[in-house]
């Protein structure tokens, strides 16, 4: 191929690159640059504001929320995946679980928020049932609309996300490995200990990281559930964009968003490094 034809085919990719630049890269860069500005001049005042007690508290809450739901989601999601993978491959059960997992994991936090309001809200179905039968007031002072409520509702989409991400890994465990282990004299326990778990561990840890990033960046559920206060980072960003109290300090919102990118980028890089090396095993 001549050199000329080596360049022109690449040029055909320009529209694609231009599009992504406009609608992905420029917004990202705007945020990063804007975090270091105030009144259109370079300034670190907003970055410094990230270490204020209020900002640190929301960061800590976000990490707590993301970490706890990641672990709970990972453990129970892996369990559910195992139950799915040991069912017959073309059964309805499996189709339903995988489709529903797809919906619940990625579809939309608002619908899930309302699902739980309908269940455990003041006049929710379960609330009323418990109130009238056992006399138990499970609604209390409205814990559903604070951090504990967020943990519960996030779990509802973290478990399905885990199923989506981890199921292929479980399916990648070749039956020949189990049979080879058995005919080499291993018991089922030894197979899992020496072969199964070591092979699944990177995928499991990676998936947990993914769940963490997913929860950390989630906005819709919290926006729909929490109307008072800004317990977590995404809500603080909302306040920075919309609230008059914060005097529309848009650059503070940029700094907070920058903080979010940083955390998510670090977690996703760790995920990529972990999975790249070992995904080959389970292909």
């Amino acid at each position: 191929m001549s050199r000329r034809s080596g360049l022109i085919p690449s040029l055909a990719l320009l529209p694609f690159l231009a599009y992504l630049t406009l609608f992905l890269l420029i917004p990202t860069v705007t945020v990063i640059v804007g975090a270091f500005q105030e009144d259109d001049r370079f300034s670190t005042v907003n970055i410094e504001a990230l270490s204020s007690p209020a900002a640190l508290r929301t960061l800590r809450n976000s990490i707590l929320l993301s970490g706890s739901t990641a672990v709970i989601g990972a453990v129970f999601g892996a369990l559910l995946s195992y139950l799915v993978v040991t069912a017959p491959p073309t059964s309805l059960f499996r189709r339903v679980v995988v489709s529903m997992a797809g919906v619940l994991a990625q579809f939309g936090g608002v619908t899930l928020a309302f699902a739980f309001i309908a269940t455990l809200g003041f006049s929710g179905v379960v609330t009323e049932m418990l109130r009238s039968t056992v006399g138990l007031d499970v609604f209390g002072s409205g814990w559903l609309f604070g951090l504990p409520g967020l943990i519960l509702v996030y779990t509802y989409f973290q478990i399905p996300l885990m199923v989506i991400v981890f199921l292929p890994a479980l399916e990648g465990l070749k039956p020949q490995w189990r049979e080879a282990a058995l005919s080499s004299g291993a018991t089922t326990r030894q197979y899992w200990l020496h072969v199964g778990i070591p092979l699944l561990r990177p995928a499991f840890l990676g998936a947990t990281l993914l769940l963490f990033a997913n929860a950390f960046a989630a906005y819709a559920t919290a926006a729909a559930l929490v109307s008072q206060g800004n317990p977590i980072l995404p809500l603080l960003i909302r306040a920075g964009l919309t609230s008059e109290v914060l005097l529309g300090r848009q650059n503070l919102a940029f700094a907070l968003a920058f903080e979010m990118i940083l955390v998510v980028a670090v977690v996703m890089t760790a995920y990529a490094l972990l999975v790249r090396r070992t995904s080959r095993w389970l292909r």
Partner: protein, 257 residues
Amino acid sequence: MGWRLMRWALLLLFAVFFVVPLYAMLDFSTRQAGGGRTGEAWAALVQDPQLSSAIITSLLLAALTVLGMLLLLLPTMIWVRLRVPKATRFVEFLCLLPLAIPALVIVVGMRNVYTWVNYLISDSALTLTFVYIVLVLPYAYRAIDSALSGLDVKTLSEAARSLGAGWPTVIARIVVPNIWSGVLSAAFISVALVLGEFTIASLTNYENLQVVINLLGKSAARVSVAASLASLIFATVLLMALSYVGRGRRAQEGSLL
């Protein structure tokens, strides 16, 4: 055997955890003051003007996003496979990048770009299409990529070209019909994502389905719950249909890298 019992117990627990809120939505949305059942909240889906116009907006956004995504992605991906294979990793990285950049961050930083879009093109909610295409990119990319991987695009196109076909014919008549399941897959997932999108629409003050569901939450909770359940059911039906389209191929939405 102890394990079988355990298995059923666990399945039951999971079923309860996931089904109870869904049932609660059904129950809550059909309640009538003073007992009994009513379909009022559900009727509002078509009767309430704000809600029905939001539904239409969301459906239009979904359709436009699918079209835009296909227009952007199909020629690019096929071109890369045929003529610039070295760019594969780079294009893949770019397409998966939106997974690492939260929608919240994008909406915070896109104001200046969208000021131009609103000035040059339009002010309507349908301009959200542009940023929605970016949001669905990772999922659409993986669906189309796995379909393309199952096809020897290079050999097929060389055979077609040696028989006299031009590039547009090769793409439209040779490649696309053979990756149809991947294209459908990408389309369905994109629709589901757009219908469920809230973050960007709400922070740019446009009224799409999820935004209105949230708005009505305070004043007409039952309608919100009915609309939530309806959209969940719709998305489930979509994705179940998808599982029949992609039969034979391994679902790859899982492993993200």
